[in-house]
């Protein structure tokens, strides 16, 4: 029976824990910050994060220490931006942290700001997430009162202000460059790269954008050391993941597991398998942008590399289960509807391709499919893949391609 490995959710799983500053400190919170303020240079913080092998939890899995290392040392100001937008369908892990233990990622954010020389950080969260935004603002207020934010933190000479920025709620504003545009008060749409945010980010200044869960890992790493972190997980995939199980699961919810444990076990032991004793038809392992897996494909280690090897993506570790009654065509349609709706529209393949695919999939939904159309869905999604400015296009094309290749029989049921 697989058990949770508690690293980020340790406090949250403690009875009576309320996520207040007092509770967090009682549980050993902000000792990492104290340690750093007393005895570590910014470079040492970057080094330990690098050594820990921490990879971003926002979707792409890019090494966090390396990202921080890209920030030039001779240019000011620099910015730390926390991506709390959490818009990927199926994903609710960041809000789980924010609502229940906001100080964990905030401490990570303060450490990261110190590491990259940032004196003003931003937390970007969608406007609709009213409670989480309030939660963060309250926590920040307490931090100022406690002298853990503001001028001269803990007498170290390091100063930091944090501002919560509430977006207007577009999925694309979770993409880091669109997020920065939005933060600057412009229309949220991705920028051409290079230049990368590390050199030209917020207001063209060096900027590092980091996911909530990523930052939440940092206090542990700083406090316990890189080796302690590397004891959890598998090589190149260290640490835990907050897995958000949803869909037709018997016990949906957030579960924290060490990376590399069996995905099948996560589903069955933690998620309780499919609800109502039904059979499993499909699993989406990392949010709607990741390719669907058939039940026979899920007996794999749940980490970045293994899920990628299986032809999908760990993404946000949002595991969605679909039982035998699910109509894959309906699932595909809702998926493409979402990406079509959320495409910022600036680049050709995404703007026109999602429109066309949406029309094609809708034909199946209305029982107007045929083999030519099925082939066409495959061709268009295949060809548009990899041709656009940001990853949204591929997040639309990849999963659609996967649905038709892995579940042709489902589409055939909707032939005319």
């Amino acid at each position: 029976m697989l058990k949770e490995t508690l690293l980020l959710a340790k406090n949250i799983r403690t009875d009576g824990y309320d996520g207040s500053l007092e509770a967090y400190r009682r549980a050993g919170g902000y000792t990492a910050l104290e340690k750093v303020m007393k005895s570590m240079t910014p470079d040492q913080v970057i080094e330990v994060v690098k050594a820990s092998g921490l990879r971003g939890r926002g979707g792409a899995g890019f090494p966090t220490g390396m990202k921080w290392g890209f920030i030039p040392k001779d240019r000011k100001p620099t910015y730390m931006v926390c991506n709390a937008d959490e818009a990927e369908p199926g994903t609710f892990k960041d809000h789980f942290l924010i609502n229940n233990d906001p100080h964990l990622f905030l401490e990570g954010m303060i450490l990261g700001s110190y590491a990259i020389g940032c004196n003003h950080g931003y937390i970007y969260i969608r406007g609709r997430s009213v409670r989480p935004a309030q939660r963060i603002n309250e926590a920040i207020e307490y931090l100022y009162k406690a002298g853990l934010l503001g001028k001269n933190i803990l007498g170290s000479g390091f100063s930091l202000d944090l501002t919560v920025h509430r977006g207007a709620g577009a999925y694309i504003c979770g993409e880091e460059t669109a997020l920065l545009e939005s933060l600057e008060g412009k229309r949220g749409q991705p920028r051409v790269k290079p230049p990368f945010p590390a050199t030209h980010g917020y207001n063209a200044c060096p900027t590092s954008v980091n996911n909530v869960e990523t930052l939440a890992c940092v206090p542990f790493i700083v406090k316990e050391g890189a080796e302690a972190f590397k004891k959890i997980g598998t090589p190149n995939n260290y640490g835990t993941r907050l897995v958000g199980i949803s869909g037709h699961a018997a016990k949906p919810g957030i579960y924290e597991v060490a990376m590399g444990v069996s995905m099948k076990q996560i589903i069955n032991d933690l998620g309780g398998g499919v609800r109502g004793g039904k059979k499993l038809k499909a699993v989406i392992p990392g949010g709607s942008s990741s390719n669907v897996l058939r039940p026979e494909e899920i007996d794999i280690p749940f980490d970045f590399d293994s899920v990628a090897k299986a032809g999908s993506m760990l993404g946000t570790a949002a595991l969605m289960l679909f039982d035998e009654d699910t109509d894959i065509v309906e699932l595909a349609y809702r998926t493409i509807l979402f990406y079509n709706h959320e495409s910022c529209g600036q680049c050709t393949p995404c703007r026109e391709g999602t429109f066309w695919l949406r029309n094609l999939v809708r034909d199946f939904r209305e029982n107007l499919g045929d083999s030519q159309k099925l082939e066409r869905i495959g061709r268009v999604s295949q060809q548009m893949f990899g041709t656009s400015l940001c990853a949204l296009n591929d997040a639309a094309a990849g999963p659609i391609k996967a649905f038709v290749t892995k579940y042709p029989e489902e589409f055939k049921k909707h032939f005319i």
Partner: protein, 527 residues
């Protein structure tokens, strides 16, 4: 210079140049829409995809890359033609046509449309899209342009022009996904003076010039490089014509003069080039107070006879020239006056110069208040030019014979002074206020019908080239002036503009070094 390899051929590039820029400089076409030399790089149309098989460090890129946003690097290996690239180009092209109306038969852009051209060159030639297309409603967005949004390919050139070049930022994009639309703000009509450039930049028929609407199929047009006559900036242009008619003027790139642009007023000068109502098409002589048609030769002889009868010489002979006369014409006129009469009384009336427009943006300084194309040239050739010049009035008052070249701008006082002369001979293309006092009118070609040069406000000598033929019996002033000289007993014969320019360069110190060849298509700035 460092080198990279494009389709296995070495291509030199400058540090910082993108693959697309270097390829274009080397004469290799990579299809593209959103990229434009004048605008920032957005890399959104995705048509310019290439395959970077080696970044110069032995490693390639797994995905296709946009050549407009990727800098060339020494040793880089790039394919713009392999199957992977072809597939990429095909799908982008196919997707651009998914919602395109394909109304080429009634689209003014047809024949000079990037979408059409690339579809033929890089497309698959058929469409599998069988759904109702996205359509946009009608919008009236500008006084000079038409917007047909259904044809828009969302390249954002129009917006970037408005934001980065023109400055009003009154063109932008709204909504998102396939409903993304480029448009003006609600109810806003663009009224600025540079709207035509939006039509030029738009790679498809989404933005077109009202003036050109439904007039001519683009493939019928012949394009003759020339210079705008609208002001002393002298924007480089092409005169686009067909069947002897000028259909429109389009800017021609010249980094030192007009960059890629021209103003709408300049574009509209083509109307006068086609004008029939004011055009002078036959030689006219005043008989009993009325101008009546005459034969060229007889008229030239009559002029010579009259001049002889008047035994006019020296200051009794005065020339007044229009500032749209070419350098060559002014040079011949000056020679005529000096050679036949020993007169140095040549004028080119000119409105007082107002301050040049200032502004941080290039476009704010493009239009010059001086609406004449060759004021600098006349000045350099020694034509006296200040307006309200009492000297000019006085000289005219004393004149027996006045030669008028073109339709010089003249105050009533000046016209009255000229009226007193015994003989007024005008060489001109159009009727003007001089018409009533001219005794002889010799019909001339206008700027689209002849060769010659003008010197703009930068003292840059730029060439006009004949695009169309003149009407009726109108003749090139470069022929009329020598004919007059010969009738007056001088040795002279027709020489084409390049030859006259050579003589001018020899005879006039300020024009040393100038020749038809150095002027070329981009002009030559005098020392």
């Amino acid at each position: 210079m460092p080198t990279f390899y494009l389709d296995d051929k070495p291509v030199e590039f400058q540090e910082g140049q993108t693959i697309l820029q270097a390829a274009m400089a080397a004469g290799t076409e990579i299809p593209h829409y959103c990229y434009h030399d004048a605008l920032s790089v957005v890399a959104t149309c995705r048509q310019c995809l290439v395959d970077i098989t080696d970044l110069g460090n032995g490693k390639g890129l797994p995905k296709l890359a946009t050549s407009c946003s990727t800098q060339a690097a020494a040793g880089m290996k790039v394919s713009s033609t392999n199957q992977k690239v072809r597939d990429g180009q095909n799908i982008i092209n196919e997707l651009l046509l998914v919602n395109h109306p394909l109304d080429c038969p009634i689209c003014d852009q047809s024949g000079e449309c990037d979408l059409q051209n690339y579809a033929f060159r890089y497309g698959t030639g058929h469409s599998e899209m069988a759904y109702e297309k996205r359509t946009y409603g009608w919008r009236d967005v500008g006084t000079f342009i038409m917007l047909e949004r259904n044809r828009c390919i969302h390249c954002s050139r129009c917006e970037r022009f408005s934001m980065e070049i023109e400055g009003h930022h009154d063109f932008g994009h709204f909504l998102r996904t396939h409903e993304l639309t480029f448009d003006t703000y609600k109810d806003h009509q663009i009224t600025h003076k540079f709207q035509g450039n939006l039509a030029d930049l738009c790679p498809v028929g989404a933005i077109t010039e009202r003036e050109f609407r439904f007039k001519k199929r683009a493939w019928k047009l012949e394009r003759t490089p020339s210079v705008c006559p609208g002001c002393s900036t002298g924007c480089n242009i092409t005169v686009d014509h067909n069947d002897g008619k000028v259909e429109r003027l389009k800017p021609r790139e010249n980094k030192d003069v007009n960059q890629w642009w021209m103003c709408d007023e300049g574009r509209l000068t083509y109307r006068k080039a086609n004008d029939k109502t004011l055009r002078l098409t036959e030689p006219l002589a005043r008989v009993k107070g009325a101008l009546v048609p005459a034969a060229w030769n007889a008229l030239l002889e009559a002029v010579a006879g009259k001049v002889k009868d008047l035994s006019a010489s020296g200051d009794q002979v005065v020339a007044v020239a229009d500032l749209d006369s070419t350098l060559e014409e002014l040079f011949l006129l000056k020679n005529l006056l000096a050679g036949a009469f020993g007169s140095g009384q040549f004028f080119a009336p000119h409105a007082p110069e107002s301050a040049a427009p200032a502004g941080a943006r290039f476009l704010e300084t493009l239009i010059t208040p001086d609406k004449t194309p060759n004021a600098q040239g006349a000045k350099l050739l020694g034509f006296q030019s200040e307006a309200g010049n009492k000297g000019m009035e006085k000289a005219l008052g004393k004149a027996k014979v006045v030669f008028v070249l073109g339709a010089p701008e003249a105050s009533p006082a000046l016209l009255n002074a000229a009226r007193k002369a015994e003989l007024v001979v005008q060489v001109a293309a159009y009727r003007s206020e001089w018409f009533d006092m001219a005794d002889v009118i010799l019909p001339a070609l206008t700027w689209t019908e002849k060769y010659g040069t003008w010197a703009n406000k930068q003292r840059r000598v730029q060439a006009l080239r004949q695009a169309v033929n003149g009407p009726g019996e109108a003749r090139d002033p470069l022929r009329i002036l020598p004919d007059l000289m010969r009738a007056l007993g001088q040795e002279a014969s027709f020489a084409p503009a390049p030859d006259v320019l050579d003589r001018l360069a020899k005879g006039e110190k300020k024009f040393a070094g100038v020749s038809w060849k150095v002027v070329g298509q981009q002009g030559f700035t005098l020392a």
